[in-house]
């Protein structure tokens, strides 16, 4: 088996990539994808620990995470559709009605 640190490093890199994507991309859909990337990074971490220490809890928790991710995407996409109806664009920077 590969040392667990490889999995930790990969998970960290994926997570940071996801963060960068959330912060730096303007397209709302790409932000959602980056968010999913963050979810998956944490999933990978859970599964890695579960495999290494032969505990099933990690894998069970992944199911929870996936369910939550799905629900969250549903709500988020519904929001985006509503915004798109008024703004005709999925650019996040356009969602700024605050003056000054």
């Amino acid at each position: 088996m590969v040392p667990i640190s490889y999995y930790l490093g990969l998970s960290a890199i994926l997570f940071v990539t996801g963060i960068l994507g959330v912060l730096l991309r303007r397209n709302a859909l790409v932000i959602f994808m980056s968010l999913e990337l963050m979810f998956n990074a944490s999933n990978l971490l859970f599964v890695a620990f579960s495999a290494y220490y032969k505990i099933l809890t990690g894998q069970i928790f992944v199911f929870f995470v996936m369910a939550v991710a799905a629900a969250e995407v549903a709500v988020g996409l519904a929001l985006m559709v509503a915004i798109f109806r008024t703004k005709h664009s999925v650019d996040v920077d356009q969602v700024n009605v605050l003056k000054g």
């Binding site: 963060i19 912060l23 996040v92 969602v95 700024n96």
Partner: protein, 663 residues
Amino acid sequence: MILSEIARIDPTFGLVPWVVLLPIIGLLLNVLIGKRLGELGIGLIASLASGASFVISILLMLALGHTHGPVTVSFLDWITAPGFTLGWNFRVDTLSVTMMLVVSGVGTLIHIYATSYMHSDVRYNGEPSRYRRFFVFLNLFIADMMLLVSANNYLMLFVGWEGVGLCSYLLIGFWFEKGKDGIGNALAAKKAFIVNRIGDFGVLIAIFILFTTFHTLDFDGIFSKVQLNAPAFQGVILAVTLFMLLGVTGKSAQLPLYVWLPDAMAGPTPVSALIHAATMVTAGVYLVARSNALYVAAPAAQAAVMWVGALTALFAATIAVAQFDIKKVLAYSTISQLGFMVAAVGMGAVTAAMFHLITHAFFKALLFLAAGSVILAMERGYETSEHGHTGNAEEFDPQDMRNMGNLQRRLPWTFWTYLMGALALSGIAPLAGFFSKDEILTVASLTSPWIFVLLILAAFLTAFYMGRQIFLVFFGQARSEAAGNASESSAVVLVPMVILAILSVIGGVLNLPGTTFLEKWITQTVAGKPDQFVLPLAVTSFALALIGLFMAWLVYGIRKPLAHPGEPDPLAPILGKVYNGMQNKWWVDEVYQVLFVRPYQSLSELLAQPVDLGAIDAIGNEIGSSIRSLGNGLRRWENGFVRSYALTLLIGLVVILAYLMVK
């Protein structure tokens, strides 16, 4: 004392609060409904209020004739603190009743005179609606002066003291937008108030010292303690009396605080007559007379009072000799005569001082009222003359004696009453002024030769400048068209003058050398030096007055003096530089400007500009602007920019995690 006790003694004593309340009711009526009543109603209410005060004063005098001894009437409680109580308590004794009679009597005559005088004056100055204001202030003055003289404790006296100072300010600045450069009257009023304040400071310190030493401010309380045990309070009494002297120099216009009185002539003439001749300025004399028990226990203070009075008498008389404004001569004459009174109380001769106070009120008020009549006549003459309708009222000074002349023919009543007043003031027997002044001179001759010399010189100069004034105003030829067209005043103006003239002539009976009514009356309350009559001295002072008038005639009467307004005074070449000094009031105002006023003004400017605006305002402004810049900075956080919100979330998360890990 409560009402039932008063009823046992004599119910009229219970009337004494009304001497203060009636003028207050008068002024309130005028304030509330005066506009609807018109000039006649306003004048009537004010004169009736003052007249009613006079009637009550007479009743009190008659009641006091039966029941001797001071009667105190409590009206209200003012301060009730543990260990110290003070009430609005009125005191009816011979000294206060004498003052009440003088104030309300002369005051009522002046109210009546003013109804006609102000009728002309408000029209001459172009503001008929200001008539009511005058009588409101005049009634306020009577109320405050009555409060002063009927007080039974020092604090109530001080309330009246301050009140008359306020009324003086309000009335001097009555025409506040007029005067030299449109601000002269307001400046004169300000000067009067500020200089008076310096005197008030002295009285306040005296009251504080009295309070901390005796724990009471009632006259009876303090005087009885002092008389029982004078040596124990030596330093205290000396301090109190000297501080009170400061107050007297302010209110009664003595050296060094007399400078406000000549400027106060900017007020209308009834104001000058009432406040600055007969009543307010005598408040200082009254204060010293009332505090005679304190002054007797401090001979050094008595000497100080005496010297201040005598020096002022001579100093002011010298200035009066060279003045050209008819009212300024009378103003300096008032200062000089007040010097006589103050010197008299300083020598302990309270009766002589009160006698001179009464007679001086008569003839000085008369002189001012008559001068007002002359001024009115000059204004009328100006209006009916050629230049009258150009509206250049500022260029013609109706009060300048150089514009007058030969008014004896045109204003006979004014002339005769003025002559009576002037002769009384000069000390011609058997007019009132002779007896009162002679008493003071007699006491001076027995007390101190230096004081006597000062006073007798002042008496001589008094006769001289009054003679000068008579000849310049009433004789010779008219030096201007206005004087040529002058017409006599109305009866309402002349009747009070005639009454005062009669009083000036017969007033001497109050205290003739044989039957000394006033002395017996006053000594019931205040023990002073007994009045004496020394015939050689009386003859000398009479002769000196005659010589003064004769010399005035020589200089001003024989030759046609000042045929034109521009000619110099005939006295100038005789006296040379001395005349220059006299005319310039010995440059006292200028000295005060340099010594006190300018340093004070530069100090205020220093504190106003760099300190107040620069430092203190800067602190406030800095705090404001720093908060604003903080707000500006924080504003950038909430920009509606979703990604920056996401960044903020991330940063917060990192901070929390770091904290947990470090912990």
